[in-house]
Symmetry: C2
Subunit: 410 residues, 2 copies
């Protein structure tokens, strides 16, 4: 069955979503903000074009379903954005899903099969970690929602749900055995495709993100009267650990391992006071759990070294360890074939360095992801962009792959 | 003329001041807080005991003056504290001055000579840098006061002066030629005296404090999708500079040079974002301007190295450079003699690593400082303390030195 997407319609839909909550050339659509809710309503209104019906559920998810009895494919992404961020992170995957559902579900050859379209709420983590997709797979309790708080303004998720009118609605959860699989498209958010002049990335796995806090305890004192020899400067200890990480990690990292010191806090943080306490947020990402374990072991060694050498105490605390998610081999093959048909030689298999809803869907069904290039590798910034040609090409590859997945030819 | 201080009275006065604004075993008396103002009023009420008269002036200074016509010595310190800090930092010097004035001015042998007592406002810099003593020596304009803002709560100095009722009062400035010199006592705020089992420090100079800001500019990006090879992580650049400072500074420092990275800020400071900007506050202190210049030159070299090596830009900005102040040789000799009389072999000449009002008084008259030991070297913390015996001994040495200075025998 030959599916042909409408590139102009894809771009028009993305532009329509971009005008809701526009900020410079990007958008500002935090979870449950007015532009986010309007974007969800926009999607609900579009579902009938693909023969689907659905509404916004009790956690802000939209799942458009078909009444057909045959095999189904679930396709989606998210519609909220990071604060003052880009127009494609999220909406691209939703519009690809919508377009694939339109061209496939409306195709004479679809029979009793259908692509269903989802928008997962709060993928960007304003209130927590992948609350929408985790809710759909049964991983979010009412107590989790009780505890969720907007990291920017402190509003509780309960208050936000009430404010936007979603409180009290049931939450949609997955119907076991309904789907052949899940597909999610996303901008790459890196420069790997662009650098190699490629158009399509077929995601092999979504990285595990292991997050740590290292705390250094020294002695706070006067920065003028305390001789260098007797100082216990927690800031110096933090800097030395970060320096040693920089020296030693490259040798034990895998090709795509990344690690980041995202924050260093010296307390009290005044120019004339020797820091008595320091804190460092440290993160490691890799698609291979073995690599993550090796990196954590090295971090443990370095922190223990720091603690032993003194003069400050150093303590390592693991904050979170997400499990890398492997994408399904036969769905990847369907994406490979779609890419080879429309962009011969211009596609590659690659891991995803960012977390995505697909990693939670992968816990309950075969899942897959397609990447399109990010100009300059920029994301989580309003300058985020992808060329129109790459957007349209990606939509076509995606629709072809959906058709094959749905047919079971994957 | 034999002066004998009353140790119990010294301790009682210090205890009285400690109960005003008590916090644990220390005090919380920010500039122009209620306990600070009450402490100033306490001092004003005490001045007549020393034959002095005075009030609180338009910037919160108290200068108790004598109507005698002969030589005068100015003696003082400050009464406000750092936030939640110690009971002696400031009050010790004021009570020593008060006690010396009492025993000398009331002594039959004093003739037409007098010790005058001052409390300088805001030595602790809640609103600026040594605003009280600088005002007294003519170094604070009305525009400076207009611009001064409480660093803790953002209140303007104008509003604070109005709130406490000092607004509109004239500011007392020094009468040229009135004083033979200035003396200030203070806790050491370090462990030099304690470590060597000494009781008295005779200050040779007050360090210059040179303060810098180093700014690193990289590229903010996603911490998962941006490969290590292409990152421009401003935090990594900041850490490397701090590490090189630690490696290279000891070799070029003088014996008492100190340097401190008091704050490192990574922006935006989130675990999953590569810092695009970093800022480091860096401070060098030494009593020798030549040493300070040598250290600054090395810092310049290191920042230029960082900038040249990349991948981030590094920029050095000098925030302030205070000039080291030399204490007067003949006043130091008077302190040496007083110390040798009451604590033979237990005194030493030493530089002050902290800034003090004496460095501003030194611009217009011969000035001197006496240190007593700080237990554990702790200061700017509520556990700050000095043994009663050391407090009383220090007061006696101080009074003897005052008598000699006033007599011109110094």
């Amino acid at each position: 069955m030959d599916v042909r997407i409408d590139g102009k319609r894809v771009l028009a839909d993305l532009t329509a979503l971009r005008t809701i909550g526009a900020y410079k050339t990007g958008v500002h659509k935090p979870t449950f903000s007015e532009p986010h809710v309007k974007s969800l309503e926009w999607l609900v209104a579009k579902l009938p074009e693909a023969g689907l019906a659905g509404g916004i559920d009790g956690i802000g998810n939209v799942v458009g379903t078909s009444s057909r009895k045959g095999p189904k494919l679930l396709a989606g992404s998210h519609l909220e954005s990071q604060n003052y961020a880009g127009w494609l992170d999220g909406p691209l995957g939703v519009v690809y899903a919508l377009e694939a559902a339109r061209v496939i579900n409306n195709h004479a050859g679809a029979g009793d099969r259908a692509v269903e379209v989802a928008s997962w709420c709060d993928e960007e983590g304003h209130f927590g970690f992948f609350l929408g997709s985790r809710s759909f797979v049964g991983g979010v309790s009412e107590a989790d929602i009780d505890a969720a708080i907007d990291r920017t303004n402190g509003e509780t998720m309960r208050a936000a749900l009430k404010r936007v009118g979603f409180a009290g609605r049931p939450r949609v959860t997955v119907e076991k055995g309904r789907y052949r699989g899940y597909i999610e498209a996303h901008i790459e958010q890196g420069d790997w495709l662009e650098t190699q002049k490629l158009a399509i990335g077929v995601v092999t796995s979504i990285v595990g993100i292991w997050q740590f806090k290292v705390t250094f305890t020294g002695v706070q004192n006067h920065a003028g009267t305390t001789r260098m020899a007797i100082r216990k400067d927690a800031g110096v200890a933090a800097v030395e650990l970060a320096h040693r990480i920089k020296q030693r990690f490259p040798a034990i990292a895998a090709e795509r391992t990344v690690w980041t010191v995202g924050r260093i806090t010296l307390e009290p943080g005044a120019p004339s006071i020797i820091p008595g306490r320091a804190e460092m947020l440290f993160q490691i990402r890799d698609a291979d759990e073995g690599v993550l374990k090796r990196m954590e072991a090295e971090l443990e060694t370095l922190v223990a070294e720091s603690d032993r050498e003194g003069p400050c105490r150093a303590r390592l605390e693991a904050m979170s360890r997400s499990i890398p998610a492997k994408m399904d081999e036969s769905l990847m093959a369907a994406l490979d074939r779609g890419a080879e048909k429309h962009a011969p030689g211009k596609h590659i298999r690659m891991p995803s360095g960012a977390g995505h809803d697909a990693q939670y869907l992968a816990r309950i069904m075969p899942s897959s992801m397609l990447f399109v290039p990010s100009i300059g590798g920029i994301s989580h910034h309003w300058t985020e962009n992808t060329s129109d040609a790459d957007i349209v090409l990606g939509a076509q590859v995606y629709a072809d792959a959906c058709e094959a997945m749905l047919r079971g030819a994957a």
